[in-house]
Structures are given as structure tokens and as C-alpha cells.
């Protein structure tokens, strides 16, 4: 397993065993990062999965928040 994740209610940190880097994630990005690889690499299915977790329907604010979290994970090269 390449990544080690530690969660708190207000966020998480992820340790990369390959590079030694550590990243802080907000709760949504942390949840996104825990999705199965095929879901977290596709914004649409990631959004569906998060909506299911939240027990709500996909709407524009959720889509936007997931897109933002997705971009954050991309920027950190976590996906």
C-alpha cells in the first residue's frame, strides 16, 4: 500500500511511502481519496459516490465542491 491516511473530523493527512511527502486534506478531499481508484479518478462517479455517502442528490454546489477536491488531489498528485 503506497499511502497511509490518518483522519480526523476536520480533515486528514496522507503520507506517501514512496516519496516521503505528507499532505493535508480537507474532509471532502479525504473522503474522495478513500474511494476505490476507479471512482476517485473520475469526477462524475466520484460525485455520485460522495452524494451516496451524504445521502443526498447530486446538485451544482456538490458537483463544484467535489470538482474542487478532485483538483486538489490532482495538484498533490494523489490521483
Amino acid at each position: 500500500m503506497r499511502w497511509l491516511q490518518h483522519d480526523w473530523a476536520d480533515g486528514a493527512v496522507v503520507y506517501d511511502r514512496q516519496t516521503g511527502d505528507t499532505h493535508a486534506l480537507d474532509p471532502l478531499a479525504a473522503e474522495l481519496f478513500q474511494l476505490p481508484a476507479e471512482q476517485r479518478s473520475d469526477p462524475a462517479s466520484a460525485c455520485d459516490a460522495i452524494a451516496t455517502l451524504l445521502q443526498q442528490t447530486v446538485d451544482a454546489p456538490l458537483r463544484e465542491a467535489v470538482q474542487e477536491a478532485f483538483s486538489r488531489l490532482r495538484q498533490l498528485e494523489l490521483i
Binding site: 480526523w8 476536520d10 480533515g11 486528514a12 493527512v13 516521503g20 493535508a24 480537507d26
Partner: protein
């Protein structure tokens, strides 16, 4: 009864420093210090007065020295050199800064070699068995606050180097002198007139620095380990009222990791240790102006955690 450094005659200390070296134990660390500089001998006797004289079994973790630079550099604008195992790890400083160079050098030795601990650039103080870790950049008032707290009943673990044992996340104290700068020196002298400083060193890159002797009780209890309970990022701000504001744990983690000397050296162990510490602690920012108000806020935290 174990003799203390302060109980040794000044001539004995000077002779040991000039000879095979003076042994000094600070928590788990034993250093053998050599120096022929009278000011260094006097200041060690003042600042480490409460430290016991360790038994000399021939072992020391660090062999360090501070000396007048040889040749012309020791005379023309005389310089002092710090030696670690006979090597010079950093550039010399003006001779009047010799004692400060020794303290900074000892910090460097710990930060560079004590990787059995996760070492954070932070002060740590303890009350009722619980430790507050105060990480902060220079100028934030961390050392001033630490000095004030230990003059009002908090136990000094460390002013500069917080040692966390990865085995149980407990803090190992060092109880070494507190390094204060510029206005903080006068502030603490007024706040605690009985507090004992070594001689002031002027014109350093940090301005005027003075080292404050650690309280006797902190030295006596140096091996009493305690678990961290709070991570508090202090910031002195003129005119502010004391305010503690919760910080997200992930953010506190990254800030502590950034303030660690050896987080990346420890790798995954550093990550799990720090995560465990954050689990156990409340993370807060603390803004303050008056030291008395800061003490009250800290005392309240300690009382609440009982």
C-alpha cells in the same frame, strides 16, 4: 546527596573545562564540554547551577567545545569556534558570543543526532502531568511565554527542542536554559525579578540574547515524562485580549511537521508519531499581549483538563 554544578567551586569547573571536559547531563543526554574561556566557565556555573554533576563513566553522547579561534582570527576581531567531535560544523562567531555559540551548538547536536525522538522546534511546558507544545516561528513570543509560564508553576520541558518518544508519544524534557532576545529579556526580568540570567550577548544576528536559568524543580524532574495535551501556536500582538482559537488537526499536523527537525528522517515513524500526538491534543492558536493574561489562560486550560 548528588552535587550540583552550582555547588562546584568555580576553579574546579574551569579546570575540568580546560582539561578532559566538564560532564553535563540534560535529561537523557550527556555532553562533555571543553573550553578555556573564563566567560564560558562562569556562565555554565550560573545557568546549570541546579544540574547534578553526572558520574564520569567515560561516556558522553556529545563531545563539544568552544574555543578562541587559533592564529590571527583569535586576536584580530577575535572569533570563537564551536567544535563537535573535533570538527567545526558551522562558521565561527565573534568571541563575545562564545557562550551563545555553545548553547546553539548543543541544540544543533541534539537536532542532528537524536533521531530516537521526533524533534520539534517548539517549547514544551508541563502542568498536572500534561504538556503544552508551543511551536512558533521566531518573533512570535514563544520563548517569552515559555519563560513566563515556568516562572509561574509550569514545568520547563524545553524552550527550543521538544523531544517526542515514538514508543509512547511522551515528551522527554531537557530543562536547559531558555534563550531570550532583546525586549523579552527586560520583560521577563520585570515579570520575575528572581529569575537568573547569564551575561547578555550583544550584536548577535538575533540582536541581544540572554539565557535564563531553568527552575530548580524543572531540573529535578527532568526525567519525568508526560504526554502532550495541547498544541498551542502562540502569537504576541500588542493590545490584543487573550484568545484561544481551535485549529484544524490536519493543519496543526502540517505545521508541526514543518517545525520538526527530523520528520523526514524518521519517515513513516515520524508520520505515525505525529498523528498520535495530534490525536491526543487540542490544537489552538493563541493571541496574547500581557503575560499575566496568558498565564491565566494557560492555568485555566490545565485546570479544565484535570
Amino acid at each position: 546527596m548528588i552535587p550540583t554544578i552550582g555547588a562546584l567551586p568555580a576553579a574546579d569547573i574551569a579546570a575540568q573545562l580546560a582539561g578532559q571536559g566538564l560532564l553535563l547531563r540534560t535529561g537523557p543526554i550527556v555532553q562533555r564540554i571543553t573550553s578555556r574561556l573564563p566567560e564560558v566557565a562562569r556562565t555554565i556555573r550560573t545557568l546549570y547551577a541546579h544540574h547534578p554533576v553526572p558520574e564520569d563513566d567515560g561516556f558522553a553522547d556529545f563531545h563539544v567545545g568552544v574555543r578562541r579561534a587559533p592564529g590571527l582570527r583569535g586576536h584580530w576581531r577575535a572569533q570563537a569556534e564551536f567544535l563537535f567531535d573535533g570538527a567545526q560544523p558551522f562558521a565561527p562567531l565573534p568571541l563575545p558570543q562564545a557562550y551563545a555559540l555553545l548553547e546553539w551548538g548543543l541544540n544543533w547536536c541534539v537536532a542532528q543526532t537524536c533521531h530516537q525522538y521526533l524533534i520539534i522546534h517548539a517549547a514544551a511546558v508541563e502542568r498536572n502531568g500534561r504538556v503544552a507544545i508551543l511551536p512558533a516561528p521566531p518573533g512570535s513570543g514563544k520563548s517569552t511565554l515559555c519563560a513566563a509560564l515556568v516562572q509561574r508553576g509550569w514545568r520547563l520541558c524545553s524552550d527550543e527542542l521538544t523531544l517526542i518518544d515514538p514508543a509512547d508519544n511522551a515528551i522527554q524534557a531537557l530543562a536547559r536554559p531558555i534563550n531570550l532576545k532583546n525586549q523579552s529579556i527586560g520583560l521577563i526580568s520585570d515579570f520575575a525579578p528572581d529569575a537568573r540570567f547569564g551575561p547578555l550577548t550583544h550584536d548577535t544576528t538575533k540582536g541581544t540574547v540572554g539565557h535564563l536559568r531553568p527552575p530548580q524543580d524543572s531540573v529535578a524532574r527532568v526525567n519525568e515524562r508526560a504526554r502532550p495535551r495541547w498544541i498551542i501556536f502562540p502569537r504576541w500582538q500588542a493590545g490584543s485580549t487573550p484568545q484561544l482559537v481551535a485549529r484544524p488537526k490536519a493543519e496543526a499536523f502540517i505545521e508541526l511537521a514543518d517545525n520538526a527537525f527530523n520528520y523526514s528522517v524518521l519517515g513513516e515513524q515520524g508520520f505515525t508519531t505525529l498523528a498520535g500526538v495530534i490525536d491526543d491534543c487540542e490544537s489552538m492558536s493563541f493571541t496574547y499581549d500581557r503575560l499575566d493574561d496568558a498565564i491565566t489562560a494557560f492555568d485555566r486550560l490545565a485546570e479544565k483538563a484535570r
